[in-house]
Amino acid sequence: MQVPILKQRDYLIASIQSALTDADLLRLRDDLVEQVGRFRSHGVIVDVTVLDVMDSFAVRTLSSLARMIRLRGAQTVIVGIQPEVAFAMVQLGLTLAEVQTALDLEEGLAYLDYLAKRSRGGGAGRGR
């Protein structure tokens, strides 16, 4: 099952639509790493709202995705981790600690906008 990737402004938004196999997850990672260059995107959002389980492989793949995207000069935010999924992840010992997360798509976009504003302003924007 291929994950649709939407381009919105400077960002790529991958909305997962159903349960993903390991192969699907690796393909999503590779597609995003490639497209972030093709579209010169500054941010990537992966929406996992529909996932009812995040196991060790999913977490490992999303972590490597975020690191690769970062090496390509963009930021990644994972959005939509459900309460039960978060509960099971913590019990499994999976924290996704090095990856930025946000409650939902709206919060994820707001976070990327904040990062963009901060880097454009170069620290000169605030309070003037």
């Binding site: 196999t21 009812d52 060790s56 977490v59 490992r60 039960e84 999924v85 099971a88 019990q91 010992g93």
Partner: protein, 133 residues
């Protein structure tokens, strides 16, 4: 009672199938949605272990009852290379495959009962149970 599902584990897509079937089976009992997710996550990890280390195996899930309490039993069985040091394999962060090494110890934390039997050259059997609260 006695409902049972057996899922052959041959490829990564079967991991998804096994955890979905497990969730569906357990949903017949009075598990919370958190518990259903926990059960599905544990099944995912033991199924993943089969794919990564043995290549093929089977997961059998059964609705069970003990002392008037209902639950789900999961048996993950393979005839792979087996685990040389089960104690070591159950340590957090131990992995011979480059994975995170949380699978088996994580599954043990998620379930109420967890047992692993392994013999080098013969295979591995993981037995886990989760009971209704």
């Amino acid at each position: 009672m006695g409902a049972e599902r057996a899922i052959p584990i041959l490829a990564d897509a079967d991991i998804v199938l096994a955890r979905q079937e497990g969730r569906r089976l357990a949903a017949a009992l009075a598990f919370s949605s958190s518990d259903l997710t926990v059960i599905a996550a544990a099944i995912s990890e033991v199924a993943r272990n089969i794919v990564e280390y043995a290549g093929r195996g089977e997961i059998v899930m059964t609705l069970i009852e003990r002392n008037g309490r209902q639950g789900i039993g999961v048996v993950a069985r393979d005839e792979g290379p087996g685990i040389r040091d089960v104690h070591l394999a159950m340590q957090d962060g131990f992995s011979t495959s480059g994975s995170l090494g949380v699978g088996l110890p994580g599954a043990r934390r998620l379930m109420d009962e967890f047992d692993i039997a392994s013999e080098v050259g013969r295979g591995t059997t993981v037995t886990m149970r989760k009971w209704e609260r």
